[in-house]
């Protein structure tokens, strides 16, 4: 892995600061153009209106510049559309450790999300209920554990 790639991969999500953009699958590609040395970073948004994208672009530029590559281009692509299935196992573990339930796998043959039981990230109980279909960021919903009574965020399967 090049130092440019490593620098970009370490950029954390500005709204969920326990995971990196690589963990979340937002980071699609890092290329260093031979000859010019220009670093081209390709990212994709979780949701079309995700307000964190501008900060993520600025953080990527800062990280790559600090790694010794002053010429940086950040490209945003929308196809293929981001899926929570792209969140890595490491990312899922970090989310759970921070009290955010990782998303269930997405059913591939349909566009209507299934309502699956979400396990409490604190006590592991499957006895949970949805409090709000939307949450503190575009990608999350609010749930509550009936066993330990704690409310928690979960990443909506998409």
């Amino acid at each position: 892995m090049s130092d440019a790639r490593a620098a970009v991969a370490a950029v954390v999500d500005p709204e969920i600061r326990v995971v990196t953009i690589e963990d979340l699958g937002i980071l699609r590609d890092v290329e260093v153009e031979p000859g010019t040395g220009r670093v081209v970073v390709t990212i994709t948004p979780t949701y079309t209106g995700c307000p964190a994208m501008d900060v993520i672009r600025a953080d990527i530029r800062r990280a790559v510049t600090a790694a010794g590559h002053p010429d940086v281009e950040v490209r945003t692509v929308h196809s293929p559309a981001w899926s929570t299935d792209w969140i890595s196992d490491a990312g899922r573990a970090k989310l759970a450790a921070a009290g955010i339930a990782p998303p269930a796998p997405v059913r591939r043959d349909g566009v209507v999300p299934l309502t699956l039981t979400v396990r409490c990230p604190r006590c592991g109980s499957p006895e949970t209920e949805q409090l709000s279909r939307f949450g503190s960021t575009a990608c999350k919903a609010l749930w509550r554990c009936r066993a330990c009574s704690e409310p928690f965020d979960t990443v909506k399967a998409l």
Binding site: Y47, G49, S79, A81, V111, P113, R133, F134, S136, L158
Partner: protein, 241 residues
């Protein structure tokens, strides 16, 4: 109206005006969870609007970006359907509008995701996932209110009847467009009639079918919405923060 520019502009305007209307609920929704929900749906609509209007500006080739298209056009230059500019009304009217809008946008974006234009296909593929969630949310509320108390049932039925006449415009034939909305009506009817049946509501019969949004002929409501949406940008051109 020809070609992908007019079509892209129309879809972008649908999403933009829907976003602005939904955002009016912020701090005013009946409960905290719904406040967050409506703001999040508005944000999704705004995200789709930005992608569509940016692309429309490129297709037009006259140097207009998303901001120029959103903030520097007058009402007669907007191409959104009338449904999205209607006032929010009570919560039932808002949910009726959201049900009809998302039941229109979901098959539209899905069909778009398979069209020949790569940019539109990418936008459709992204936005349809969000529309599916909006549809699910609206359907839950319509069923809950329809099956709730006699008063919630009465108001939900009244909400559906108030906005139903504006459905016709959504599916007017547009053969030159990358996706002809007329081909999506059956999908829409199937989804909406199933939701209304489960909600113990009846599909309204309407002979009156107002239209004109796609030609820039709007209700007076749009002008007030634009005045509020555009005033800051027009008062301080080029302002950044």
């Amino acid at each position: 109206m020809n070609g992908p520019f007019a079509f892209t502009l129309a879809l972008g305007d649908d999403a933009l005006i829907a976003a602005q209307r939904l955002a009016e609920w912020t701090t005013r929704a009946p409960e905290m969870e719904e406040d967050i929900a409506l703001a999040n749906i508005a944000l999704d609509q705004l995200g789709a609007a930005r992608l569509l209007l940016s692309y429309a500006g490129e297709l037009e080739g006259a140097g207009r970006d998303e901001d120029a298209l959103a903030y520097l056009r007058d009402d007669r230059e907007f191409r959104n359907c009338l449904l999205v500019e209607l006032p929010n009304g009570d919560f039932a009217v808002t949910m009726a509008k959201l049900l009809l809008l998302s039941a229109y946008q979901l098959p539209l974006y899905t069909a778009l995701s398979r069209c020949a234009d790569e940019r539109l296909a990418a936008i459709g593929g992204k936005a349809r996932k969000e529309s599916a969630y909006h549809l699910d949310h609206a359907a839950l509320w319509v069923k809950r209110l329809g099956e709730g108390t006699p008063e919630s049932h009465r108001r939900m039925q009244a909400g559906i009847e108030e906005v139903w006449p504006y459905v016709g415009e959504l599916f007017a034939g547009w053969p030159q467009a990358p996706v002809d909305p007329a081909t999506l009506r059956a999908d829409f009817d199937e989804v909406v009639s199933a939701v209304l049946a489960e909600a113990t509501l009846t599909v309204p019969e309407s002979a009156w079918a107002p239209a004109g949004g796609r030609d820039g002929l709007h209700t007076e409501h749009l002008s007030y919405l634009l005045a509020e949406m555009q005033v800051l940008h027009r008062a301080h051109p080029g302002a950044r923060w």
